[in-house]
């Protein structure tokens, strides 16, 4: 691995570090709101990764002059990743809104938004159900 290779790929690795931080928050934290925050960090890092794919050194934003007289010497960055990520950002905020609405309902029904507590409540419900219905089959759920 030459220094040149490292420098020209470092950007990607940096974004991967960010992505994995976000991903780790999602899978390791038990607070439902924090999970959503982690998911957002994960996604935003993926978006940054995408955008860095489209960057051209010395390029500029892909917007032509208003009279559409394109100067052939000007380098423009790749517009396609921008379009994809615009769509992905919107999808991301839609998911966030829905996830948060679910959290509000969960809080109203369970009285908590901590995974551990909720699992405990659900285990309790399961035990009650088994006690009520279970004798017939003798199995466990």
């Amino acid at each position: 691995m030459t220094l040149d290779f490292i420098l020209s790929h470092m950007n990607y690795w940096l974004f991967i570090v960010l992505m994995m931080t976000g991903f780790y928050i999602v899978v390791s934290r038990g607070n439902y709101v924090k999970k959503i925050v982690g998911l957002n960090i994960f996604q935003v890092s993926v978006f940054m990764f995408y955008i860095s794919v489209g960057k051209v050194t010395g390029g500029t934003a892909p917007i032509y002059p208003i009279d559409l007289k394109v100067d052939p010497d000007v380098l423009y960055s790749n517009p396609l990743p921008h379009v994809l990520i615009l769509t992905a950002i919107v999808v991301g905020v839609a998911t966030t809104a829905l996830g948060l609405a679910l959290i509000v309902r969960i809080r109203e029904e369970y009285g908590t938004i901590e995974e551990e507590d909720i699992l405990e409540i659900e285990r309790e419900m399961q035990r009650e159900e088994n006690a009520e219905h279970g004798s017939a089959m003798g199995g466990r759920a």
Binding site: A88, G99, R105, A136, A141
Partner: protein, 504 residues
């Protein structure tokens, strides 16, 4: 068939690929404008029928191996987004729209019973979105468009599952867990597409296939495949990534469970098939290894572990949910064989399992409505109180096991043939062995239904006709496709060929 040229006006038939998806998609906002629940149901049903007719027409057009392309926005691919209908996705479109058309008449009574009246309009709107999203995922030939439509169907699925909270609050956490896992899956999928885009510069699947074919040792492409398969695997509930499925299916309203079990995972499996075999060609050396050493063992574990867990379930819905995880194992096994007959088996099973599970979950929905739940002890002796419904369960159960004369038998038979073709006779034994597990859990329920005495005196009435007819339609399909194998095997073979022939 060539892409429609820019000059001539497109006829209705030329527009069918987009109309299949567009009619339900645009009906959803119209539902909101109308704001009336019976109109919403009517519109959903009409859209579903239109979509089904259109999908049937498409299937008949491509059954001989033709390909229909449709450039959305008039921009020729790879510049624009393209719909590309071949036998493989026409077959899946046919399944999804067909199931939806059968589910909706059933839905009316069941939704009235399980969902509060004020949200009925929104419910059908959401259902339409989910339906249209799945169709869009299957019809498109653009990698990023798959993601967008996948999210339409996923977001609406989360909501539909959460609607089960009327009956059991665990529907909310089931929906939340699915939301987290589904979003991780979708993000993985986006990463995978990003890698492919980086290496090739295109998002069109056919164009990707051409450009990938001589890049087999490119590590970006390899990692891209891993992320696409894992991302979609989360949606398809492939074995270690199935954790969201049992509780989602258990606590969702019965109609939602029926529809999802019969279609949603199938669409995800289709996307995996498409990427594995059309975009990446099976000639990929590293890929065949992946298939043999990763997918086949996981498929086997799914077939056994999930079936064994299913045996111990006391909630009929949960039992069937675990059985779904096991059945997806069969499909993955077919994919793992990585040859034409394995692929054919996977596609047939995709279809047959769709109708079988559809029928079974419809029966469960009827039990929930009449017996007040799907727990085993509620079902004691219900076979005598609800004979018509329970007979449908028996047929579905037989098909799930794979008894000769049912649809389930056909798909397992083809799968075993594929195993023999590879010379893996032990695999055939394993397939039979796992079917025996299915015998155990199906028998367990049948015994409850017919041989146990009802606990209470409370008489459960037979389900209403609007539920019985769709249920029996699917049950008859289970038998019909067990004897009449030309349609399924025929189209699955063409589908497998067009997947493998893919881009050529």
């Amino acid at each position: 068939m060539a892409a429609p040229s820019a000059q001539t006006a497109l006829t209705l038939v030329d527009q069918l690929p987009i109309l299949t998806v567009l009619v339900p998609l645009l009906s959803a906002p119209v539902c909101i404008i109308l704001g009336n629940r019976s109109m919403a149901w009517l519109l959903a049903f009409a859209a579903s029928v239109a979509s089904f007719l259109s999908a049937t027409h498409l299937l008949l057009q491509v059954i001989d191996g033709d390909v229909i392309t449709y450039a959305v926005g008039g921009w020729a691919p790879p510049l624009g987004i393209e719909y590309r209908i071949d036998a493989a996705n026409a077959f899946v479109l046919f399944l999804i729209s067909g199931i939806s058309t059968i589910v909706l008449p059933y839905a009316k009574k069941s939704v009235e019973h399980e969902v509060r009246q004020v949200s009925h309009t929104l419910f059908y709107c959401c259902y339409l979105l989910c339906f249209a999203g799945l169709l869009g995922v299957v019809a498109t030939a653009d990698a990023f468009n798959v993601f967008v439509f996948l999210e339409i169907s996923s977001l609406s699925t989360y909501v539909l599952i959460a609607m089960g909270a009327e009956r059991d609050k665990r529907a909310l956490t089931a929906a939340y867990d699915y939301l987290i896992m589904g979003t991780i899956g979708a993000t993985f999928f986006v990463i995978g597409i990003g890698f492919l885009y980086m290496a090739t510069g295109t998002l069109n699947l056919a164009d990707l296939a051409v450009r990938i074919s001589d890049m087999a040792d490119n590590r970006t492409i390899q990692a891209g495949l891993a992320f696409i398969v894992v991302g979609m695997g989360l949606k398809a509930a492939i074995y270690p990534m199935h954790l969201w499925l049992p509780s989602a299916y258990t606590y969702a309203p019965s109609v939602v469970t029926t529809f999802l079990a019969a279609t949603a995972t199938k669409a995800a499996v289709y996307v995996i098939l498409r990427f594995l075999f059309s975009v990446y060609q099976p000639g990929f050396i590293f890929e065949t290894h992946t298939l043999e050493f990763v997918i086949i063992p996981l498929a086997l574990v799914a077939m056994f572990a999930a079936s064994i867990i299913a045996v111990f379930q006391q909630d009929l819905k949960k039992l069937l949910a675990y059985s779904s995880v096991a059945q997806i194992g069969y499909m993955m096994l077919g994919i793992g064989f990585a040859n034409a007959s394995g692929l054919t088996a996977a596609i047939i099973h995709l279809f047959n399992h769709g109708i079988t599970k559809g029928a079974l979950f419809m029966v469960v929905g009827a039990y929930v409505m009449r017996a007040g739940g799907s727990f085993c002890d509620r079902l004691n002796g219900i076979g005598r109180q609800m004979p018509v419904t329970s007979a449908a369960f028996v047929i579905g159960g037989l098909s799930l096991i794979g008894v000769p004369g049912t649809a389930g038998f056909v798909s397992k038979w083809v799968l075993m043939q594929a195993a023999f073709e590879k010379g893996w006779w032990w695999m055939a034994i394993l397939i039979v062995a796992s079917s025996l597990l299915a015998v155990i859990y199906v028998w367990k329920i049948v015994e409850l239904l017919y041989l146990q005495k009802p606990e209470q005196e409370a008489e459960a009435k037979e389900a209403p006709a609007s539920m019985l007819v769709p249920m029996w339609l699917l049950a008859i399909c289970c038998i019909w496709f067990g004897f009449n194998t030309e349609i399924t095997i025929g189209s699955a073979q063409v589908a497998a060929e067009s997947l493998l022939g893919g881009s050529r």
